[in-house]
Symmetry: C2
Subunit: 496 residues, 2 copies
């Protein structure tokens, strides 16, 4: 078990006094301070990191968020904001001497503009609840992380979440227009506008994906899209993982932008099949699920081309879902893949690296080699069209030393992603989990610039301390591992 | 005539010594210091603002840019970077005691990756030159400002430029992957990655559109797109500007995303027709040009739907360009509209506000009212699909007081854009021109946050001083004109 904090904040107020002052600002049921009440907040989706907060608050209004922030600023207390706690990188891990600020009670959809196709929502609104609320108008909110039934829009903005459909529809940043942010002093900032571009520096993009380090998101204006007239999905089976990876490139190279283009390898296929009975071919080394959506004529035309490309790419089977029921069943297996893989071993560790799509075959081969080397099985279930990998490393946390092995293995995967020109995170954020790999991805100059940005919003470092951006000191301890662009020891890469 | 600078920098070195030191770093033909050599750099496309720089340098390499920046930093000299000087907001206006840093000699296309569909280019490469260089591979670079034959990619990044096709293909930020930036101290930062998302704060978005305030762009990796299989354009004529504006909303509401959706009013139509003989209907109050591109089947289907929507929206004529020659002719008129309007009066002033698309009819009516009130004619030629207005105010700079009237009129238009939830700039930047309107768009808190960001990159304020973000002092002098969101005196807006 790890605990998170590099920045040690010494308390400037006793816990009893803090609770008393918070109770003057918030109703009694909005302030939690007993260990039993704090337990649900000790970790997020990355359960390897646990820490009880000092106090948890659950404000009912933006004004209460501001009041809490003013109080914390007055006493220089760390604040960690939390949405639904579904994050996978430990970004919402509490601070032992800090306030855990849950946005769970701010869960209203404030307004829907069906003509302008936008919705103003509070941060605690669940991702899927937005689409459900506007479905009657033929609209939906496009980003769809696999946790979309539970995760909240505030957390989505903080992590710049993606999902199965972000190949075509983009990440969270591409689907929001405006954010209201409470800054570290309790002031309310309105960032972005309803127009397609804003004057001034692009603070909206800066805030999005900033993992709670720059402010607390208290309102989001999202873009809504019209539901596509038609959607169809094709399943293709391959007897070779690298052939499947190459077919991904072929589809994109043909100028087709699928709504989703997902890949699963044999281990994942069989786990999902045991769990969801989706009708996947169990003997395949890999399958691709390729969804096309849009106007009917266009989908029909493109799906025919995709089927041809997949066959020419060596697929042993190409299967078009006959109707919406068959389509839902094919997706059911994919969506259940994580928990399904979870049944194969006591624990698994989900990585999240991105690479330029053309390197997919190379990177999958490297992961297989590392899997052999570490003696740890890996299931691959991922957003192939984006080059966003999700290797799931299977292990047993009760075996001494195995978690450390897994972390070392995962680190190697991420470092290879950087090596081929990619990134250590696609959509899960850095949080606690990948903070060492940030030293691999970025040199001291870039990290210094990140710290300068942080300082511009939060000079005392009170917001989510110790997350997302490592200190230079930490990187020095981790080792001088920065890999410079273009200087790779891998000859396969030289032609790029 | 205006001069730009609020920040007065006192020279810490004589001009003769500076020239001598620059000549030690750069070849002799790369350092200009005589008035006759400096003249071409006294303004950009906004010729109302003029100022000779102290010295102009034209480095041949990134290393030379770094050497110049180190020298300027050592002597705390202001630096203004300049691309092709086609900017329309005075962003490249020189500083009287500063170095004008032209990137014109860095004009190589460094590499093209046809598989990954990217190109690495130097900042002085012309926008159109990128598309020309990759045309043989069936690829192109999508953002197409009307100055694309001359403007450079470095300037495009600095201004986050758009163009006719950004409705479908996005602004510059949506079409770049990586930027190399020389910071104020001369260090080289690599920002972004080839993968679809990056770890850390989104510095790429922050740099894009930052108008030379945060660093000097010395390399850009752009995304390339496959040329669409087919493109078709429809012209629709209306006897009422507001009907044309409403039809814009109808097209988008039907779920169609045109590649371009442009509007011209009667004054612009006739000016363009005189100039380009595009065959526009001279008696129309407004025309729309709607281009669809993509797969052939899709374009055919959508163009039929667009024609129907336009007819139902009250168009008096709907005309489909029969072939590519006819299509090019229709666009020729639109592309020539600015110079064509320029022949109607001694001078014109081009505004650049954006509004939520649904407010187009209201805002056009308001512009017409203001035109009456100020007694100054306005031609409207603009990106209607984006809600990006370009009112061209006609005037005569030789008439005493007329420029001041034009500026007041233009200011009123921009303030009304903010009023309806829009922005004071779409694609031309703030520069010198709109610096007062920044005080209308943003409150003191937001401006303070902008200054903190600036400080994180350029603590001494040496990069492009006095542009883009006004001091709070300047805003106080301009008057307490901030219009708060949602508190509008216009009852027409209350339902939104």
């Amino acid at each position: 078990m790890h605990t998170g904090c590099e920045h040690e904040h010494t308390a400037t107020i006793s816990k009893a006094d803090l609770v008393k002052q918070l109770l003057a600002l918030l109703p009694a049921d909005c302030v939690l301070f007993e260990a039993e009440d704090l337990n649900p907040y000790e970790c997020d989706g990355l359960s390897a990191y646990r820490q009880l907060p000092w106090v948890t608050v659950l404000p009912n209004s933006v004004e209460q968020v501001q009041a809490v922030m003013r109080l914390c600023h007055q006493y220089q207390l760390p604040v960690v904001a939390r949405g639904a706690g579904t994050g996978l990188s430990g970004g919402a891990l509490p601070h032992p001497n800090g306030v855990l600020l849950s946005l769970a009670k701010l869960k209203s959809i404030l307004s829907v503009d069906t003509l302008g196709r936008t919705a103003r929502v509070q941060p605690g609104v669940r991702n899927l609840a937005i689409s459900q609320a506007v479905a009657a108008h033929g609209l939906y909110y496009a980003p769809d992380p696999s946790s979309q039934i539970a995760c909240t829009i505030g957390g989505n903005v903080a992590e710049n979440s993606g999902g199965v459909h972000c190949l075509k529809y983009g990440l969270t940043i591409h689907n929001i227009l405006q954010v209201k942010l409470v800054d570290v002093t309790g002031e309310l900032l309105v960032i972005g506008s309803e127009a397609f571009d804003s004057a001034g520096y692009d603070l909206l993009a800066l805030i999005t994906g900033s993992e709670g380090m720059l402010g607390v998101i208290v309102e989001v204006t999202v873009r809504l899209l019209p539901m596509p007239e038609q959607a169809q999905v094709v399943l293709a089976a391959f007897n070779d993982v690298e052939k499947a990876a190459a077919a991904v490139g072929d589809i994109i190279a043909a100028g087709i932008i699928p709504a989703g283009l997902e890949m699963m390898d044999k281990l994942a296929i069989n786990a999902a099949e045991d769990y969801a009975h989706a009708g996947y071919p169990r003997d395949a080394e890999a399958i691709l699920l390729c969804e096309l959506d849009g106007m009917r004529a266009d989908v029909v035309d493109q799906i025919t081309r995709v089927q041809l490309i997949l066959s020419q790419g060596g697929a042993t089977e190409v299967r078009l879902a006959a109707d919406d029921t068959a389509r839902a069943l094919l997706w059911k297996g994919r969506k259940a893949a994580f928990p399904a893989v979870g049944r194969l071993s006591p624990d698994y560790y989900c990585m999240d690296g991105t690479i330029p799509r053309r390197h997919l075959p190379l990177v999958l081969r490297r992961i297989a080699e590392l899997s052999q080397q570490y003696g740890l099985a890996v299931a691959n279930v991922f957003h192939a069209g984006d080059g966003n990998l999700h290797p799931l490393i299977l292990y047993d946390a009760n075996k001494p030393g195995e978690l450390e092995q897994v972390e070392a293995f995962g680190g190697k995967i991420l470092e290879f992603c950087v090596e081929v020109g990619g990134s250590i995170t696609g959509e899960h954020g850095v949080g606690m989990e990948k903070i060492n790999q940030m030293c691999v991805q970025f040199d001291a100059l870039a990290l210094t610039q990140f710290h300068a940005i942080k300082h511009a919003f939060d000079p005392q470092g009170l917001l989510n301390p110790g997350k997302a951006v490592p200190t230079l000191h930490r990187c020095a301890e981790f080792g001088a591992m920065h890999i410079h662009h273009g200087k790779t020891p891998f000859p396969e890469l030289e032609r790029f």
